[in-house]
C-alpha cells in the first residue's frame, strides 16, 4: 500500500525524465526510432509505433528548453 499521490507525482517525473534523456544519435537512430525515420505518408492511419515516436519527440522538444542539443 502507501501508494499516495505524491509517489505518483514522483513516478511521473521520473518517467518524463527518462524519456527526455534518450539520446537521439546514439540510441534512437540505432533502434530505428529516430525522428526522421518514422514519418509515414499522409492520410495513412498512424500506428502505435509512430504515435510513440511522436510522443518521444514531443516530450524531448518540450523538455529541451533553451539548451541546444
Amino acid at each position: 500500500m502507501a501508494f499516495t499521490l505524491y509517489s505518483l507525482l514522483q513516478a511521473a517525473l521520473l518517467c518524463v525524465n527518462a524519456i527526455a534523456v534518450l539520446h537521439e544519435e546514439r540510441f534512437l537512430k540505432n533502434i530505428g526510432w529516430g525522428t526522421d525515420q518514422g514519418i509515414g505518408g499522409f492520410g495513412e492511419e498512424p500506428g502505435i509505433k509512430s504515435q510513440l515516436m511522436n510522443l518521444i519527440r514531443s516530450v524531448r522538444t518540450v523538455m529541451r528548453g533553451k539548451k541546444k542539443n
Partner: protein
C-alpha cells in the same frame, strides 16, 4: 515608551477633546470629515469603540466609510474570482454532471448492481448536446462517484475501527491511495487512447465518472464483509465485479468502438480489434482494482 502611550490613552478617557500632543487627529467628536484612506478610520475606530457603546461605533460616519470601502473591496475580489475561475476549473461543464435527481440515482445504482437486463445504452442527444443525467439513465454523472468515494473512505475507517487498527491518519492514507489509483487509471487510459488513435467524444471528466462507479461495488463488498465475514465479502464483491465488468464493456463499447459496435455486430480488422482489446483491458482492470483496494479491510 510611556509618552506616546499615555498620549494615545488620553482621547479614550476624554472623548472629543483635542490634545495638541496627539499623534493623529481625533475625529471621535460629532464633526465628520470624509477620509478616503482606511488607515484613518481603523486607527480612530479603536478609541471610539472603547469609549462609546457599539451603536455609536457603527453609526460613526468614518467607520461607515470603512465598511463601505471594505465591502467594495470584497465585491471586486469576488468579481475577479468569478471571471477567472473558469480558466482553472470548468465550472459550467461540471454543472452538467451534477444535474441529477433521486430517481436517476436510484436507477443508476440499480444498473450498477444489475446491468444484465438493460437494453439501450445509448445516451440521448438534444440539439447536439448530450442530455443531462436527470433525463437519461445512461448519461455519466459525477454525483454518484463523488459520494461513493467519500462513503468508501468512511466505510474503510469503520472497517479498520472494528479491527482495532484505526488511526486518523490512516483515513487520509486510504483517501490518498484511492485517489492515486484513480489518477493512474485515468492517465493510463488516456495514454492508451492516444496510442490507438481513437476518435471518441469521451472526455476526461466522463472517464473519471465511469471509473468512479466501481466505488459503489467496493462499498457493498466491504459492508457485507463487515456483516457476514469473508464469505459475504467474497460473494458480494464477486457479484459486483462481474456487474461492473459488464457495465463498463457495454458503456465503453459505445464510446470507443462507436461506428461498428452500435449495431452489436462483432467487428473484424486490426484497428477495431485493438479497440476491443482496449475496452476489455479497461473493464478487466476494474474488478482487479476493486479487490486490491478492499481486501486489506476485511479480515
Amino acid at each position: 515608551m510611556p509618552g506616546p502611550a499615555s498620549k494615545r490613552r488620553i482621547p479614550v478617557s476624554q472623548p472629543g477633546m483635542a490634545d495638541p500632543h496627539q499623534l493623529f487627529d481625533d475625529t471621535s467628536s460629532a464633526q465628520s470629515r470624509a477620509y478616503g484612506t482606511p488607515q484613518g478610520p481603523s486607527g480612530l475606530g479603536y478609541p471610539t469603540a472603547s469609549a462609546s457603546p457599539q451603536a455609536a461605533f457603527l453609526s460613526d460616519p468614518v467607520s461607515n466609510m470603512a465598511m463601505a470601502y471594505g465591502s467594495s473591496l470584497a465585491a471586486q475580489g469576488k468579481e475577479l474570482v468569478d471571471k477567472n475561475i473558469d480558466r482553472f476549473i470548468p465550472v459550467t461543464k461540471l454543472k452538467y454532471y451534477f444535474a441529477v435527481d433521486t430517481l436517476y440515482v436510484g436507477k443508476k445504482l440499480g444498473l450498477l448492481f444489475f446491468p444484465y437486463l438493460h437494453q439501450d445504452w445509448e445516451v440521448q442527444y438534444q440539439q447536439d448536446m448530450p442530455v443531462a443525467p436527470r433525463f437519461d439513465v445512461n448519461a455519466p454523472d459525477l454525483y454518484i462517484p463523488a459520494m461513493a468515494f467519500i462513503t468508501y473512505i468512511l466505510v474503510a475507517g469503520l472497517a479498520l475501527g472494528t479491527q482495532d487498527r484505526f488511526s486518523p491518519d490512516l483515513l487520509g492514507l486510504q483517501a490518498s491511495s484511492a485517489l492515486a489509483w484513480l489518477t493512474l487509471e485515468v492517465l493510463a487510459i488516456l495514454f492508451s487512447l492516444y496510442l490507438v488513435t481513437v476518435n471518441t467524444d469521451l472526455t476526461t471528466i466522463d472517464l473519471v465518472a465511469f471509473l468512479g462507479y466501481k466505488y459503489v461495488g467496493m462499498i457493498g463488498g466491504v459492508l457485507m464483509g463487515l456483516l457476514f465475514g469473508k464469505i459475504g465479502y467474497y460473494l458480494v464483491l464477486g457479484w459486483c465485479c462481474i456487474s461492473i465488468f459488464v457495465f463498463m464493456i457495454r458503456t465503453l463499447r459505445l464510446k470507443i468502438l462507436a461506428e461498428a459496435a452500435a449495431e452489436g455486430v462483432p467487428v473484424r480488422g486490426a484497428r477495431n480489434q485493438l479497440r476491443m482489446y482496449l475496452t476489455m483491458a479497461v473493464a478487466a482492470a476494474q474488478p482487479l482494482l476493486m479487490y486490491w483496494l478492499t481486501f486489506h479491510l476485511v479480515r
